[in-house]
């Protein structure tokens, strides 16, 4: 148990399966809660938004990172936001954006939400630590 509990914002920019970022971030998130710290929010940016897809369907004997993250977020009531500009580019939308852009479907996985970069700015200001999980950078 840590003597000083800290609050954290995690930013994930690497996509599942294309990078280890979502998996590493999940292990980090579990470890920081186990150590008595607080996870205030998770922010998905760039390719990291693919973690919030409700349609990811890996073979049943492989880990399903979006589902594992969604279960973790729900269990610990951690808000998670995907950047709206990143999601629209990459084809990840909720029902609001589906209606706005007259798209044939929506595919945002609950409890992820879609919002702007202001959420990231606020997270940096309000929490003690902001930690980034990038992809390969290639």
């Amino acid at each position: 148990m840590s003597s000083t509990a800290l609050s954290y914002t995690l930013v994930i920019t690497g996509a599942p399966w294309a990078s280890q970022a979502p998996q590493t971030a999940l292990e980090f998130a579990r470890a920081l809660l186990a150590a008595g710290h607080r996870l205030d929010r998770v922010f998905l940016y760039g390719d990291g938004i693919h973690l919030a897809s409700a349609l990811a369907t890996p073979p049943s004997d492989e880990p399903n990172w979006p589902r594992q993250w969604a279960e973790f977020l729900a269990a610990h009531q951690v808000p998670a936001v995907a950047c709206i500009a990143s999601t629209l580019r990459r084809g990840l939308v909720n029902e609001t954006e589906q209606a706005r852009y007259e798209l044939p479907a929506s595919n945002l996985l609950a409890p992820f939400e879609i919002a702007g970069l202001g959420e990231w700015v606020e997270g940096r200001l309000k929490t003690d630590r902001t930690v980034y999980f990038h992809g390969s950078g290639a």
């Binding site: 920019t13 690497g14 760039g46 390719d47 702007g116 970069l117 202001g118 990231w120 700015v121 200001l125």
Partner: protein
């Protein structure tokens, strides 16, 4: 909190640099002090006369031109990297400050963030 956003990859091959720029603009729009540092192949962002229409993209020069309007404090370029990529006063964008070494720049910011 003073933030330095580092772009170390050449433009056009990936959207990560543009998205890092959006992060910088967002911080500046919320009155958070932020500067940009271009190093390694990232200095190619700062070349005059880019013709991205050939690639079917918008030139990053235009994106960068918005930096002062948003209130980005400085656009910095790693001097040795500029030299390696043939960038000098004749072909570097206006408003860019070349630095001899990046270490002191990184040291004077409380937060340093790399483009994903």
């Amino acid at each position: 909190m003073t933030t330095l956003i580092v772009i170390d990859q050449a433009p056009y091959g990936s959207w990560s640099g543009r998205e890092a720029l959006d992060m910088a603009f967002s911080l500046a729009a919320f009155d958070q002090p932020v500067s940009l540092l271009f190093c390694d192949a990232g200095v190619n962002w700062l070349r005059q006369g880019q013709q991205a229409t050939e690639l079917g993209q918008k030139t990053v020069e235009k994106n960068l031109a918005a930096a002062p309007m948003f209130g980005v404090e400085a656009i910095l370029a790693d001097g040795p990297a500029c030299q390696r990529y043939g960038l000098d006063d004749s072909n570097l964008l206006a408003g860019v400050t070349r630095v001899e070494a990046v270490e002191p720049i990184i040291a004077r910011h409380t937060d340093v963030l790399f483009a994903g």
